[in-house]
């Protein structure tokens, strides 16, 4: 499976629930197996992205933080 990111979302500065809402909308547009990359600064997003991926059964491939910017890579199931 090719691990290509098909869309990158810059959601820096946005607060709950918009990072999840915007990510969910973007995930609707991509096909199964494709990945979406998200940049966010909401500290609550760490728990929320895990919970969202668990409930929607998408895969949180990557989750890290650099200089206060959270970075997530999600693969659509």
């Amino acid at each position: 499976m090719s691990l290509t990111v098909v869309q990158t979302l810059d959601l820096k500065g946005l607060s709950c629930p918009m990072p999840i809402v915007k990510t969910a909308k973007a995930m609707k547009q991509v096909s199964s197996g494709e990945m979406v990359e998200v940049f966010a600064t909401d500290p609550g997003s760490v728990a929320d992205f895990q919970a969202w991926c668990r409930s929607t059964r998408n895969t949180l491939v990557e989750s890290d933080v650099t200089d206060g910017v959270f970075h997530y890579v999600i693969q659509k199931r």
Binding site: L14, C16, P17, M18, I20, V21, A24, W52, T56
Partner: protein, 174 residues
Amino acid sequence: MPYTELDLEMKPDEGNEDEHKLVIFAWSGDLDRVWPTLILATTAAAMGWSVTVFFTFWGLFPLVKNDVRMTGDNWMQRMMSVMNRGGTDHLKLSKMNFIGAGPKMMRKLARDNKVACPQELLAEAREMGVHLVPCQMTMDLLGLERANLIEGLERPAGATTALLEADGATTLFI
């Protein structure tokens, strides 16, 4: 009836989309209640849940169009609409309202923190397929016509519809 092997094979994960439902009874028209109602509704929709918000009593006023000044057929309903103006732009805080200064400060804080305002969340909710159902009885009681309310709502309904939706769903009364 005894389980056959076929039954057991069919059971796990077969069509297991386990449709999760959230039904919110939005009773309050206060800014600090409408806000979390819409945050929860949009988030649940983002999680793929089926979401219905049933707007009743004071909860109906946020659905009034922002430019509608007065509603009602008689002096009681009209007075109520003047004292309690509808629309997402005119919501009051349940505490620290300070004749409207409180909500202004709250909205400024929200803007500064890039927190989506109720109007924006309401638009998101509609776009994401959240079912927004006005309570017909309250509309009659408070003198709110369908034309006074924003677009994109479901057909006004009653308690039976709300309870039927709520059956087996996660329910919140806010």
